[in-house]
């Protein structure tokens, strides 16, 4: 963790136009929560899972995860970090920590608020979903940072993973849940919720925890390796 890189990353992220999207998405969730409350909605899964864990979480993580390092590699500013003796592992882990904190702030916090707004008597469930979301945020950003160093199309690849793999295939093929960050989040939320609370998790916690740790470590190592061998491309000039 390097404070100079952390500060620059944080300011760069909040300075980009995508920060508007970051702010907008949680606001939509909170508005939905208000609508739920007004309509006396009881379907917790629709709000906290479908809109929170399934939609808000991966989108915010994708914006932040590809924004902290990939955007700097793309616009050329990352060169000022890379042309220093700073270990590449320090750069990646710093970016990871900043991205994880930002994503938790923009997903787990509104998830919790949405829960207590829509279902005031289900605080425990709201906390469970918020913690599940926070865990998912950490795993997602690790993946998206690695993607953003490995490919210039990180945003597209990330969207395909979220929409096609997690969204579409996982609902047809049950085994895919083992490789779905969304399911890790739900698994954690399920474990923390009270018995009888409906959290639709398909992966058990003893499977989810080791899997998500493996994913975080593997993605981070991949990102460090790719950044160590970062090439300035472009036309041979």
């Amino acid at each position: 963790m390097n404070p100079v890189i952390a500060r620059i990353t944080y300011r760069a992220l909040l300075g980009r136009r995508r920060v508007l999207l970051l702010a907008l998405l949680p606001v939509v969730l909170l508005l939905l929560a208000v609508a739920f409350r007004a309509g006396n909605g009881t379907d917790t899964a629709t709000l906290l899972d479908h809109f929170g864990v399934t939609a808000l979480l991966p989108l915010v993580a994708l914006i932040v995860g590809t924004g902290v390092l990939g955007a700097e590699l793309e616009d050329g500013t990352a060169i000022y970090l890379l042309a220093t003796p700073t270990p590449r592992s320090t750069i990646v882990t710093t970016k990871f920590v900043v991205a994880a904190v930002m994503t938790v702030v923009f997903t787990a916090v509104p998830e919790f608020l949405a829960g207590i707004i829509a279902f005031p008597d289900r605080t425990r469930l709201s906390i469970a979903y918020a913690i599940g979301t926070a865990v998912g945020a950490v795993v997602y950003v690790a993946i998206f940072i690695a993607l953003s160093v490995a490919t210039r199309r990180a945003m597209a690849v990330g969207l395909i993973y979220v929409l096609v793999w997690e969204g579409l295939l996982a609902s047809f093929v049950s085994g895919i849940g083992v490789l779905s960050v969304q399911q890790y989040s739900l698994s954690v939320a399920h474990a923390l919720a009270k018995a009888g609370d409906e959290v639709p998790a398909t992966v058990s916690l003893p499977v989810a925890i080791p899997m998500l740790l493996v994913v975080i470590v593997a993605a981070t190592r991949l990102a460090i390796d790719r950044l160590s061998g970062y090439r300035i491309s472009g036309e041979p000039g």
Partner: protein, 303 residues
């Protein structure tokens, strides 16, 4: 003394050969890497700067490879060509960040010194986003100089600079070279390289076309046949007169256009004026047909 050594270096992208079997040694002083756009200068510079592995051969600084070795930035400073910058940082914050990333013991003082070197002290607390291209370029140089590197690599540092900024930058690079630093910059503009460099490496189509003292290369470039397109008050009579003149290698009139092949650039231009005067022919236009840098280079390559 720090030496940058390239040995039999090639770099290709798929089927495209960007750099072809180049060997060169770069030591203290200013070295100009000269070549037309697309010649492979940036590719070479990226390999020297550790941002591209050679497909073949080795690129080393004091015997250590540059690729995948972040520690080498302790002795190397890089000024990239791209204009990108952290526009939300002030020049001071930007240079101080670089000082901290180089783990300098007194980053504030180092930044202050680097900003003074590029004469940005007055604008140090303005955001980079408000800077002109030339000022931004100087901030980039300050950031690359903050740890007082032995080797400074600059990719097209004069692009987008006005003449005054250009002179200032040239002066700065010369001062660094006088202090024993190894300074290498790339350029496609002959005059920049001529004014600044002790040593020139001319790269054309990925190959090292010429290498060494600039005066020597300049002589090769000027003492060579040139083609001139000439318009005069009487092209046919001038053609006939030039046929007999010394330093004329050949004369042709095709489609009403008089072209003269001169055997030597300097003496021909003198002889042409004298011949025209002696025959009372007015010269309307004398255009060196192949004065573009590319043709100079291709000439060098053929030699």
């Amino acid at each position: 003394m720090t030496t940058l050594q390239l040995t039999a270096v090639s770099r290709w992208y798929g089927n495209v050969v960007a750099v072809n079997d180049i060997t060169m040694t770069i030591g203290p002083g200013v070295t100009g890497l000269l070549g037309p756009n697309g010649a492979g200068k940036s590719t070479l510079l990226h390999m020297m700067a550790g941002f591209l592995p050679p497909s073949n051969g080795t690129v080393t600084i004091d015997g250590e490879p540059t690729w995948r070795r972040p520690k080498m930035y302790d002795v190397v400073g890089l000024v990239p060509e791209r204009e990108a910058a952290y526009t939300f940082l002030t020049a001071r914050e930007f240079v101080e960040a670089s000082a901290k990333l180089h783990r300098l013991s007194d980053p504030q003082q180092a930044a202050q010194r680097a900003l003074a070197t590029v004469e940005l002290t007055d604008a140090a607390d303005r955001k980079l986003g408000t800077f002109s291209k030339g000022m931004r370029q100087r901030a980039k140089v300050a950031s690359a100089l903050v740890h007082d590197p032995q080797v400074l690599l600059l990719d097209e540092p004069f692009n987008g600079m006005d003449p005054r900024q250009r002179l200032h930058m040239m002066d700065l690079l010369m001062r660094l070279a006088d202090a024993g630093r190894t300074v290498l910059f790339s350029s496609h503009i002959l005059e920049e390289v001529e004014r600044l460099s002790d040593i020139v490496q001319v790269v054309v189509s990925g190959r090292l076309a010429a290498s060494g003292d600039f005066r020597e290369i300049r002589r090769l470039m000027t003492d060579r046949p040139h083609v001139f397109t000439i318009r005069s008050t009487d092209d046919r009579r001038l053609a006939a007169a030039l046929m007999g003149a010394q330093h004329t290698a050949g004369v042709s009139i095709e489609g009403g256009v008089l072209q003269v092949h001169a055997a030597d650039f300097g003496s021909f231009t003198h002889a042409l004026a004298a011949t025209a005067r002696d025959h009372r022919i007015g010269l309307r236009e004398v255009i060196p047909a192949d004065e573009s840098l590319e043709s100079v280079f291709s000439y060098l390559v053929r030699r």
